[in-house]
């Protein structure tokens, strides 16, 4: 874990309200896994919290992160220009562990696709990914070239304006019986993960499933206990430190 001052290389709109920022790290931050995240300063001192953003791509010392315009902080971040320097703490969280897995089902919704893309990029040379990705509409579709690194890719939209009409979980369920896979990795809105969990239980929990969760964070390193989620045993887990990736059966969604 390192806190570095990184130079912005580019910061571009990739879909409606979605930006991709690429920063060049001044030194290596060690291995960064798909599903891990960074804490990035907005560049405005009046924002005391850094923004926790999932890693989308790592290429040498360049790291790319995607974010949705939500409020003042992300708006400020969207104004960062090439050459600007931003503080970045990384890598944070556990990330997806795919050791021993070969055939992996990917279920992603909306901005949840970014950590999944990092995971596909990390492992696509020696593992097969079967991806089911849902976006709101055509304007929200992005990074298709990255998603196409999957062995098989199904993209759907809520309104059918791109790909098929439907959502990622439904699309997966249509194919579920035909697929011989070792595990599922998923990230997306809470309602998507909730439905996924329910459907997997109905199907007899035949396949392990790991989900990456999102929560409003404070420190990002596990100290402040702000970003907790409920575990099935009633205890709390820290999304930033114990997660953000959890076994779907371990957490209440």
């Amino acid at each position: 874990m390192k806190d570095l001052l990184a130079a912005v290389k580019s910061n571009v709109l990739v879909a409606e309200n979605i930006y991709m920022i690429t920063l060049t790290l001044p030194e290596s931050a060690g291995k960064i896994k798909g599903g891990q995240f960074v804490n990035l300063s907005t560049g405005d001192g009046s924002h005391l919290l850094r923004r926790p953003l999932g890693v989308m791509k790592v290429e040498g010392d360049d790291i790319s992160l995607c974010y949705q315009l939500k409020g003042d902080g992300t708006r400020k971040l969207s104004e960062a220009k090439a050459g600007d320097k931003l503080k970045i703490l990384l890598p944070l969280g556990n990330g997806f562990d795919l050791s021993g897995r070969k055939n992996i089902i990917v279920i992603g919704g909306g901005v949840g696709v970014f950590p999944l893309i990092a995971t596909i990029r990390e492992h696509c040379a020696d593992k097969n990914f079967y991806s089911y990705i849902g976006f709101r509409n055509k304007a929200a579709v992005c990074l298709m070239d990255e998603l196409e690194k999957s062995e098989k890719l199904t993209v759907v939209t809520d309104d059918g304006s791109f790909g098929g009409n439907g959502n990622a979980v439904e699309s997966y369920l249509k194919d579920a019986d035909k697929l011989e896979a070792d595990c599922i990795i998923a990230c997306g809105p809470p309602v998507m993960l909730k439905v996924l969990k329910q459907k997997l239980i109905e199907r007899g929990n035949k396949i392990p499933c790991y989900v990456s969760l999102e929560e409003r964070m404070g420190c990002g390193v596990g100290a402040c206990l702000v970003c907790v989620c409920k575990k099935a045993d009633g205890s709390n887990a820290r999304v930033c430190k114990d997660g953000p990736v959890f076994d779907i059966n371990e957490v209440n969604l």
Partner: protein, 303 residues
């Protein structure tokens, strides 16, 4: 290189920079980023006799130059701290300040008795704004501040007692004196100010608890004023906090009368905040030819 060491209630701190309760856990996480033995002390996450799960999420929100939190005293309980974390912190050579909260006077007595002799200070959290029972209920009126301080003090035979004051009160001098009269060995302030942030699209407060404790750079002038008032109304040492982000802020609080300071929210903005603040404080003293940091304490003169 000035002498940064300070002595508070007979406890020697290598420098006056202490991690504030609730922002630093029990030190382990930040120790993965830098060796926390460089800081003067750690005030632990607020602890209760029994483990607590805290409030629902979201527990945090942001305003301009401030944040709000409502964690609600999630903690593993004091016994867990004694077994699992105390020796780690002691091994780091930092002053260990056990921050404690209770639901009743008896709770405060019992938790203090359990920690007596084990830690460098017990910091009484009588000002947590985020729990329904206890916490703040004890910290508003001078009568209950004096009583809870007396109960804690009678359970502490060997460990000095620090009472953490709330800013959400009528009079800081009156409450500081109430703590002193109850037997406090020192005072720390300020805890967070109670606030609210509303998501105007949903017409709902951003924090699940509706209100939260406001902290961060934006509250610093309020904190400096209250530290000044406290330091000039009691004879016991005062530990200042509230919005400190840099070395100049440390100097300001110490000039207002603080013997040491606590750093909280700045750790979120900058995980390396405390080592940086120590360097900046040292550099300011060098630049001004001050050889011993204690020389600047309580040196502000009013207009």
């Amino acid at each position: 290189m000035a002498d940064l060491s300070v002595k508070v209630c007979g406890v020697q701190l290598k420098n006056p920079i202490i991690a504030a309760s609730g922002t630093f856990g029990f030190g382990r996480e930040y120790d993965e980023i830098y060796d926390i033995s460089v800081i003067g002390g750690v005030s632990t996450k607020g602890m209760t006799l029994e483990p607590r799960l805290g409030n629902p999420v979201p527990r945090i929100a942001e305003g301009k130059s401030v944040i709000l939190n409502a964690v609600g005293l999630q903690n593993p309980g004091v016994e867990h701290f004694i077994k699992e974390d105390l020796s780690f912190l002691k091994g780091k050579g930092v002053a260990v300040i056990a921050n404690v909260a209770g639901k009743s006077f008896d709770d405060y007595g019992e938790i203090c008795a359990r920690l007596d002799g084990l830690v460098d200070f017990v910091e009484l959290n009588i000002s947590c704004p985020n729990v329904k029972a206890g916490g703040m209920a004890f910290g508003i009126k001078p009568e209950s501040i004096k009583k809870v301080t007396e109960v804690a003090k009678s359970a502490l035979k060997r460990t000095p007692l620090m009472v953490k004051l709330s800013p959400n009160v009528e009079s800081i001098p009156v409450n500081a004196q109430a703590a002193q009269n109850g037997g406090a060995d020192c005072i720390s302030l300020i805890n967070t100010l109670t606030g609210m942030v509303i998501d105007i699209e949903r017409r709902k407060p951003l924090i699940a608890n509706n209100t939260g404790g406001v902290s961060g750079a934006g509250i610093k002038p309020v904190a400096v004023r209250m530290v000044y008032e406290a330091a000039h109304s009691v004879d016991i040492p005062v530990i200042g906090m509230g919005g400190i982000t840099c070395g100049a802020d440390v100097i300001e609080f110490m000039m207002a009368g603080a013997r040491a300071v606590q750093i909280g929210t700045a750790n979120f903005s900058d995980a390396m905040a405390m080592p940086r603040i120590i360097r900046e404080t040292d550099a300011w003293l060098d630049k001004h030819g001050v050889k011993d940091i204690n020389e600047i304490v309580d040196t502000v003169t009013l207009n």
